[in-house]
């Protein structure tokens, strides 16, 4: 992305939490910012890269991004790194030792928890890292706070020489609200100064740093007691007082405007005395936190009497429609009824692959092959688990397809001793954490057929650049990974590496079927770009000749959203068997001519679209 003129100070802007953090990062004089894309965190770094006078990068994974930020902070520069919640699982190896060295230049690490699982494989609470790694945790409740706390985070980080966690959730990252922005300050680092006792964490040095970490814990707890980020708002209804943080604070204020509330902005370390102060004001205390009972458990250990997850769910958002009935039950009141009509029943509409997506060819082919197990991975291609393909059997974590496939191979039972094991992984996921798994398959002589779907983009998060497509975050050219050479270097035999066009179904089918029979590791690389990135070129669209369509439904099995059923019927075959028929049309205005559906069409009913008149428009969508 090209740098743009940032909006002037004092502007009131409608910003998402991600955009607000990006602005604050720029204003704080950050020199280095690094991340790997992941919903709901992705836009932070995307937006940072549009600001001038700093360096931003897509790193190959979250661990590397944190290490890049650590190096910059060691060199005295302000640094920023962000990731989705599961990204910190990958980065935590660096984090757990970083806490011993601390930093010189300020370092803020934004972690975006997907509370409510809008686009993730699990729902974990990143506030645990504050406890585990002995780091302060800031929890904004809206975009303005995300902006302000990012700036506070850098000050805190330098004052205590400690990395600071900015804990966000989807309801902060992606909500747009009003932010008043300020000026950029410059912050010149002094460069890296050698200090082996601090920066070389061998046992002798690390052991001396641990007491310093505990000392810092005490200082931070004292700060949390005094910090204006933790404040009590008194209220007239003393029956229940609340301790809340993050978006849950807004839900408490919305639901119980007259209740006393202790808001925790600096929520780790927990300010015990402040909590006691609130408890003294009210008849009973309820802790409202998303999602695990962390503050609750620590306060109970302090002997403070309160309620939390006994009456509130331990999963998902604590929005007003959850809080109001729970508190009403606690107070013995009648639960307020929703004044709405009954929900009308409508079919589910799960996310689909795009029209002409190169993965369609892969999954159509996999759905036609029997006696296989398919270990999957994280990306658009996880959708292959759904209809009509049902051709993905596992999804665990980034890169897991490799190790899981090897384990399925080595751990075969009687029922699957003859099954062929496949692994499906995307280009960016392979580079993120999959390469090591493939090396393990090679090293341990696994019998796995790996499908490496190289679509030259991090597709699911919006088509970000990565080392596989030869462009950096600014869209500038950078060396492009040579996948065949890379997997060969990892030890896959040259004869077992195939690069295939996923739109050529017969070739793809034959290659997969041949390779699964070979009792060793093979890698089949597909090489067509994501349809959402600039590398993709549209071709002439297709249409269906109505009279020629026999209703066999083969084309529907490809799973392209441009194919629609016009009418259904039944036919009795010569064998006496009754079969369902589905006659189709192609939405030519969205078809980009990939030709996948043409190949399984027996009666040749699909032909290039020939418009009757140049203004024939049949799209039913409402815009782009």
């Amino acid at each position: 992305m090209a740098a743009v003129m940032p909006a002037p100070a004092a502007s009131r802007l409608l910003m998402s939490g991600n955009e607000a953090v990006a602005r604050a990062v720029w204003e704080s004089g950050v020199k280095v910012a690094a991340a790997y894309p992941g919903t709901p965190s992705t836009e932070m770094l995307e937006v940072i890269s549009t600001y001038p006078d700093l360096y931003a990068e897509w790193s190959v994974n979250e661990k590397v991004s944190l290490e890049v930020a650590i190096g910059a902070a060691y060199a005295g520069s302000r640094a920023f790194c962000c990731m989705k919640h599961v990204g910190m699982n990958v980065a935590s190896d660096a984090l757990m030792t970083l806490t011993l060295t601390g930093v010189v230049g300020g370092l803020v690490i934004a972690i975006a928890d997907d509370v409510g699982l809008s686009s993730s494989q699990n729902e974990q609470d990143s506030r645990y890292w504050g406890r585990f790694a002995h780091l302060p945790v800031l929890e904004p409740a809206d975009s303005q706070e995300a902006y302000a706390m990012t700036k506070v985070g850098f000050e805190l980080s330098e004052r205590f020489q400690v990395p600071v966690i900015l804990r966000m959730t989807t309801r902060i990252n992606h909500v747009k609200s009003v932010v008043e922005v300020g000026e950029r300050e410059t912050h010149a680092g002094n460069g890296f100064k050698k200090e082996p006792g601090r920066f070389v964490m061998v046992p002798g040095n690390a052991g001396k740093r641990i007491p310093l970490m505990f000392k810092r814990d005490n200082e931070l707890r004292a700060l949390a007691e005094q910090s204006p980020l933790n404040f009590i708002e008194d209220g007239s209804d003393k029956r229940v007082g609340f301790i809340a943080s993050g978006p849950a604070y807004m839900h408490v204020k919305e639901s119980f405007p007259n209740a006393p509330v202790l808001k925790l902005g600096l929520s780790c370390p927990v300010p015990f005395e402040k909590c006691r102060e609130l408890a003294a004001l009210v008849e009973q205390v309820v802790v409202v936190e998303e999602v695990e009972p962390l503050v609750e458990t620590e306060l109970k250990a302090q002997g403070i009497k309160l309620l939390g997850k006994e009456i509130l769910p331990r999963q998902g958002e604590l929005s007003p429609n959850v809080l109001r009935p729970a508190i009403a039950r606690l107070l013995g009141e009648t639960v307020p009824e929703m004044q709405s009509t009954v929900a009308l029943q409508v079919f589910p509409r799960p996310p689909t692959m795009c029209v002409a997506c190169p993965h369609l060819g892969v999954y159509y082919t996999l759905s036609q092959i029997r006696n296989i197990s398919i270990a999957g991975d994280i990306g658009c291609y996880t959708l292959g688990a759904g209809h009509p393909w049902n051709a993905l059997d596992t999804c665990v974590s980034m890169g897991a397809s490799m190790g899981v496939a090897l384990g399925m191979d080595k751990g075969r039972g009687e029922s699957d001793k003859d099954k062929r094991i496949l692994a499906v992984i995307g280009d960016s996921t392979f580079l993120h954490m999959g390469m090591q798994g493939l090396l393990d398959i090679v090293y341990n002589k696994g019998n796995v057929t790996v499908l490496l779907l190289d679509n030259r983009a991090v597709g699911m998060t919006g088509g970000q650049d990565n080392p596989g497509n030869g462009r950096d975050i600014y869209g500038d050219d950078t060396p492009r990974v040579n996948f065949p050479a890379l997997v060969e270097a990892l030890g896959v035999k040259k004869d077992r590496i195939h690069t295939v066009d996923p739109y050529q179904l017969p070739v793809l089918f034959k290659t997969i079927r041949d390779e699964v029979k070979v009792p060793e590791v093979s890698v089949i690389i597909t090489d067509q770009p994501c349809v959402l990135i600039k590398d993709y070129h549209k071709m002439k669209p297709y249409e269906v000749i109505e009279d020629k369509c026999t209703g066999c439904g083969n084309c529907i099995d490809v799973g392209c959203p441009a194919i629609h059923v016009t009418r259904r019927g039944k036919e009795v075959k010569a064998s006496g068997r009754e079969v369902d028929l589905a006659f189709v049309r192609i939405e030519s205005s969205v078809c980009t001519g990939c030709g996948l559906c043409v190949q399984p069409c027996a009666p040749d009913a699909i032909v290039h679209y020939a418009p009757v008149s140049p203004i024939k428009l049949v799209n039913m969508s409402c815009g782009s």
Partner: protein, 203 residues
């Protein structure tokens, strides 16, 4: 906070639902309101369900609309408009594009598309105004104008004048030339007129 206005905009990924809501939010902010806009969307760009929430007023706390409290529901697609009826408050209004976007699970025969979404909504007792935004956009020569038609449709159901919203819409196209600005002005007015005509016919 009952003094806030709650607007729910629904459709499917790729239709421009989130952009439309953002323009509505910009209009509210231009008038000095506090505003929050949020989506309940999964992997939204992949043709899945999108519902975009806008709340504005003196001070907005919770960004999402609680079921049963939406003042206006702006539906970009028929079945999606049906799906979110429970979000409306009693006496709330639905403004609905009659377009149907049929998902692959229906094409595969696993589920049925409702035969008459408009009738179902009417049966539930909610007030609904239906119009064909897609045809209106096509008549103006570009289906991409559908988004602006939808914003025109809601323009007279807001607690502020239509001009503010129109300004925010046109600002988006200023850099793209006078011709596009004019087309969008027409699309906006056509959407406004379509809803006005449908309401007059029902009265």
């Amino acid at each position: 906070m009952s003094e806030n206005t709650n607007i729910l905009v629904v459709g499917i990924g790729g239709q421009g639902v989130m952009t439309a809501t953002e323009i509505l939010a910009e209009a509210a902010i231009a008038l000095g309101h506090d505003a929050k806009k949020t989506e309940v969307a999964g992997m939204a760009q992949r043709g899945g369900v999108v519902s975009s929430h806008l709340r504005f007023g003196k001070k907005v706390l919770t960004p999402q609309i609680t079921p049963g409290t939406a003042d206006v529901l702006l539906g970009f697609e028929s079945a999606e408009t049906m799906r979110w009826q429970h979000m409306l408050k009693q006496g709330g209004i639905t403004l609905m594009n009659t377009a149907r976007l049929v998902p692959p699970v229906v094409e595969l025969g696993l589920f049925d598309y409702p035969e008459d979404p408009l009738a179902e909504i009417r049966k539930s007792g909610n007030k609904v105004v239906a119009f064909d935004a897609t045809s209106i956009a096509q008549a103006l020569g570009d289906i991409r104008l559908g988004n602006t038609v939808m914003l025109g449709a809601i323009a007279d159901h807001l607690p502020f004048g239509a001009e503010v919203l129109l300004d925010c819409v046109l600002k988006r196209f200023q850099r793209k030339g006078e011709k596009l600005v004019e087309l969008n002005r027409q699309a906006f007015e056509a959407g406004r007129a379509a809803v006005g005509a449908a309401e007059a016919a029902a009265a």
